[in-house]
């Protein structure tokens, strides 16, 4: 009936108004404690000199865009996945390929190394996350031991083992995240709250407890309690999709990279955004972010083929790395912090490291 239709619309509009006024109230509460900026507190900290980043290894072998990569805890092995449907395990020291498996789908958007180093997980357009044990027996077919663990109703965008090989956390285009038992494939917990595709997730450092952060196409970053499934905190300051989220090493903050061409730092105890890393000259989206070991540097890969390195405290850029011939889609610092690996739509992965060069040396 016409009148029923009107009531429907009124209710949605009044709900949206309620949501808006709650958001304003939340911002007011947060603003009360916003007494200083991070870079002001960091004023007394010595500025960094210029960094010169150099690519040390180039990993070639994928037949199409590299979409995701992860380091093994042994600090030398890397797993990567590609639009070509392949998942490859590399020895980054020698650049040798140690394992390769072809997935039944193209666009393998997510991959992760198991903490033990004995398995990898991956998935994408197949809407699943599967685990492959890594075998060194040349006669064994890696694909034969495949175990399907997670099932979503849309693409898998991200996956991560928790602190053991027994559980996997997934993020999906279906708008949810989920925690799974690897052995049984059972769904242990699901996380509802995003209003659109979830694109990324990161687990809090183990000392911080059982939380993780996710980012999505709804421009929100959400922090979740893994046991209860509840969202603890959420942040909506980005102006576009959040492609990447990464915890700051102490667990008290996290960084995000977005299609709005900025990266941001969110302080979890102050419950607010405390820094924006952007420049007028950077107009392409940031696809992937990670911190150096101390948290002083933030590495970010962009859709304009570059990697920018930011001084987390001062908010300034300290280095820019060229080299990839297409979008940088994934980036991770190695577990011991000696290097970082970037994957690109140019089909390659590059392992790079930096040297701090003082202005004095540059002048001679």
């Amino acid at each position: 009936m016409a009148t029923e239709g009107l009531q429907e619309n009124e209710t949605l509009a009044s709900l949206k108004n309620e949501s808006e006024s709650l958001k304003n109230k939340l911002e007011e509460e947060r603003a009360k404690l916003h007494d200083v900026e991070l870079h002001q507190v960091a004023d007394r900290v010595e500025a960094l000199g210029q960094f010169v980043m150099k690519t040390r290894r180039t990993l070639k072998g994928h037949g199409n865009k590299v979409l995701c990569m992860d380091w093994c805890k042994d600090k030398r092995r890397i797993v990567s996945s590609s639009q070509d449907g392949k998942v490859i395990v590399w020895d980054a020291f020698t650049t040798n390929k140690e394992h390769a498996v072809t997935m039944p789908c193209t666009w393998v958007m997510a991959c992760a190394y198991a903490p033990s180093g004995c398995a990898v997980a991956c998935g994408g357009l197949d809407n699943k996350c599967s685990v492959y044990p890594l075998t060194f027996d040349k006669n064994e077919n890696m694909a034969a031991k495949k175990k399907s663990v997670a099932m979503h109703t849309n693409y898998l965008s991200a996956c991560s083992f928790t602190n053991s090989d027994m559980q996997i956390l997934t993020a999906s285009g279906d708008g949810t995240c989920a925690l799974w038992d690897v052995e049984s494939g059972q769904l242990l917990q699901s996380f509802h709250g995003h209003a659109a595709d979830v694109l990324c997730l990161d687990l809090a450092p183990s000392e911080t407890g059982n939380t993780f952060v996710s980012g999505g196409c709804d421009k929100k970053a959400m922090v979740w309690d893994m046991r209860s499934g509840q969202c603890i905190q959420s942040f909506e300051t980005h102006e576009s999709d959040i492609n990447s989220v990464r915890y700051y090493p102490s667990g008290d903050a996290f960084a995000s990279g977005s299609d709005d061409a900025s990266c941001r730092l969110y302080d979890l105890r102050a419950d607010r955004e405390v820094a924006i890393y952007s420049k007028e000259s950077i107009i392409f989206g940031a696809s992937s972010v990670d911190f150096s070991l101390s948290g002083r540097l933030l590495f970010a890969g962009y859709n304009d083929y570059t990697i920018n390195v930011w001084d987390v405290l001062k908010g300034t850029r300290v280095s820019i790395l060229f080299g990839h011939e297409n979008r940088v889609s994934t980036l991770r610092v190695s577990p011991d912090g000696t290097a970082f690996c970037s994957g690109s739509w140019d089909h390659t992965l590059r392992v790079s490291a930096g040297v701090l060069v003082s202005v004095h040396i540059l002048k001679t």
Binding site: T11, L12, L15, K16, E18, S19, L22, K23, L26, E29, R30, L33, D35, V36, E37, L38, V41, A42, V45, L48, R56, R76, A92, F93, T153, N154, D174, G175, T176, H192, G193, H194, A195, A196, I232, Q233, Y248, P249, D252, D267, R269, A270, V274, S292, L293, S294, G295, L297, V312, L313, V333, G337, T338, A339, F340, V351, A353, G354, V355, L356
Partner: protein, 69 residues
């Protein structure tokens, strides 16, 4: 799943979440930011990408040629 929810259901979910978050315990930025700075300073010396690594200790140093002894 977000795609299965109606617009109204999504906004209602948002409202419930916001009501909880308004009550979150927060600390002043001057205190938390100070602790972030302190943590970085305490760990900076052990950060290889920040401090640099001598070439001979760098696991990713350039692959050398052969040495004939």
């Amino acid at each position: 799943m977000a795609h299965d929810l109606s617009d109204k259901e999504i906004v209602k979910m948002e409202i419930e979440q916001l009501k909880k978050e308004v009550k979150t315990e927060r600390m002043v930025v001057s205190k938390t930011a100070k602790e972030i700075v302190e943590w970085i300073e305490a760990n900076a010396a052990e950060d290889p990408l920040l401090k640099g690594v001598p070439e001979d200790k760098n696991p990713f140093k350039e692959k050398g040629g052969c040495t004939i002894t």
